[in-house]
Symmetry: C2
Subunit: 314 residues, 2 copies
């Protein structure tokens, strides 16, 4: 368990995609109207989305940029930060990159190595589909249990400067085998990871589910959320009524299981959760499906990981 | 600059490949005789190399495993750590993953979040070639400026427990554009990164090149080392006589520019540098070429990064 005393969430900036706008993902700072964002490739579009976030968040107090994305070898982060003249640390935990970056950045601030920094996560639907599932079988419908990689880039600033959102503590998760090989079913892959980390977190913090106003996962989707709750009930005798999944609530009237991508959970947090007065004590569980085309083609089951961050809104 | 007071390097374990054994890379704990290591794929071989390292280093005091490799989306780390029941954090900085992991782990120990952890980096020549350069043009000779991805996995234990190797401080680097598009010439790509971080490090630590017994880079190779020294001389008026490059000294009588891979620098450090009585004050600059097949195919120049770690041997 990492405990923080002097770490606050002080600012953020979000660029979201056209489907996100259409599906009423509200209060983003900016939307892009087409997937190319004026660039020649979707990869360059994702790099530009990240740069746009950084251009709106970085200032003279920014001592570190940390984070990652779903592109091959973190190409987007490596390119968006070129010549920014600020140290950069790349983190990879698939969709759990959000909480891994959050926790690492908070750790560096609490450890007095820096006073302020930004963590940045993004995904671009077309860039991610190319990375993880290319060549796709064009024309084949996806199963309903699939999540749809969101197009968004989110930067969040953490600082020693006090704000209404306090970063209280967090837990890095363990890698576990999901025994699932179907990469469309990321919810089933990641649900055991989320359950394991939640149980570890409750044990180590000596708290119970009811001590939180909200336990938010990202991104199990609607399918994975059901599995998550079932595992908790059957294996751990934990009943959870205060749960939302960022992926499952991301799109409205969506035919698949919801959204996925490392930007989904932070986006939902800053636009819907922090300004909802119901939620003061928020436990975030960002889940990751640690697959790659190589692993999948070699018929391995997909490992999963989940990192926890606990926030208090005052 | 991250300053550490209570962080020590206390143990390590190395598994190296057949070419490494043949080329007299000495004092590794274990060598594999063939690239498959009893597995069906080279990727599984790399996973097994990492697991072997962990099986020999992890004990009840290990609170965190951190690190990365060159496989697609850190598949190797994600798979080698399955069911280890220890928290895992994935870092990606290409070959600079070594110092990025080193610094992050040291930061977590100094910040009192953990007392002991392991960082683990690896590369497998055939897995890396497939990831970065597949489809290769079979039969085409490589240019002499190429480095050859080493096959090795190195785990290093850091701890609050005192040892003869003290981790003194470190610096996370900035991403800069190398303006080089030739991915065979990783030395030319990474030399500007190494020079930038060295200059930043000297400025921030208020030290000079002569204050160190050794400035060791990894992995510029012989070609990149020359460029590194030229940049320092021409652009910064710094003459450097106490420099070695881990990649350049890795293989003996080698036709290319040397070895590369995130395991090369830590391997050279623990087997050749720490037990050489000449070197008490060692500044390590691990360099990374932040390329990916996507970036290269889209004709971008390759960004570079370099992170510094300063060690004292007592």
């Amino acid at each position: 368990m990492f405990n923080f005393k002097d770490v606050y969430l002080t600012d953020y900036f979000i660029v979201a995609g056209p489907l996100e706008k259409e599906h009423d993902v509200k209060k983003c700072d900016m939307y892009i109207d087409d997937y190319y964002f004026g660039e020649k490739t979707v990869e360059d579009a994702e790099i530009k989305m990240q740069r746009t976030v950084l251009n709106n968040l970085v200032n003279s107090n920014t001592e570190l940029i940390i984070g990652g994305d779903l592109t091959n070898q973190l190409t987007a982060l490596g390119s968006s930060t070129i010549n920014k003249n600020i140290p950069v640390l790349g983190i990879y935990s698939a969709c759990a990159t959000m909480s891994a970056s959050f926790l690492t950045l908070a750790g560096f601030i609490q450890g007095k190595f820096i006073r302020e920094g930004i963590f940045l996560t993004s995904s671009h639907n077309l860039a991610a589909e190319k990375q993880f599932r290319f060549p796709v079988e064009y024309g084949a419908p996806k199963p309903y249990r699939s999540t749809f990689t969101a197009t968004a880039a989110v930067g969040i600033k953490l600082s020693k400067t006090s704000s209404k959102i306090k970063v209280v503590n967090g837990l890095l998760g363990k890698v576990i085998d999901s025994y699932v090989k179907d990469v469309h079913n990321m919810g089933a892959i990641m649900a055991p990871g989320a359950a394991t980390t939640l149980v570890d977190y409750l044990n180590q913090s000596k708290t119970e589910v009811k001590d939180y106003d909200l336990i938010i996962t990202g991104d199990l989707g609607s399918t994975g959320s059901e599995i998550f709750k079932e595992i908790l009930k059957k294996e751990h005798n934990i009943k959870i009524n205060n749960h939302l999944d960022a992926g499952a609530i991301f799109y409205k009237d969506f035919e698949y299981a919801g959204a996925s991508g490392p930007a989904v959970l932070p986006l939902i947090l800053v636009t819907r959760i922090f300004n909802n007065k119901k939620y003061k004590k928020i436990l975030c569980l960002a889940t990751g499906s640690l697959h790659s085309p190589v692993l999948v083609n070699q018929k391995h089951s997909v490992p999963t990981i989940c990192h926890a961050i606990y926030l208090e809104v005052v």
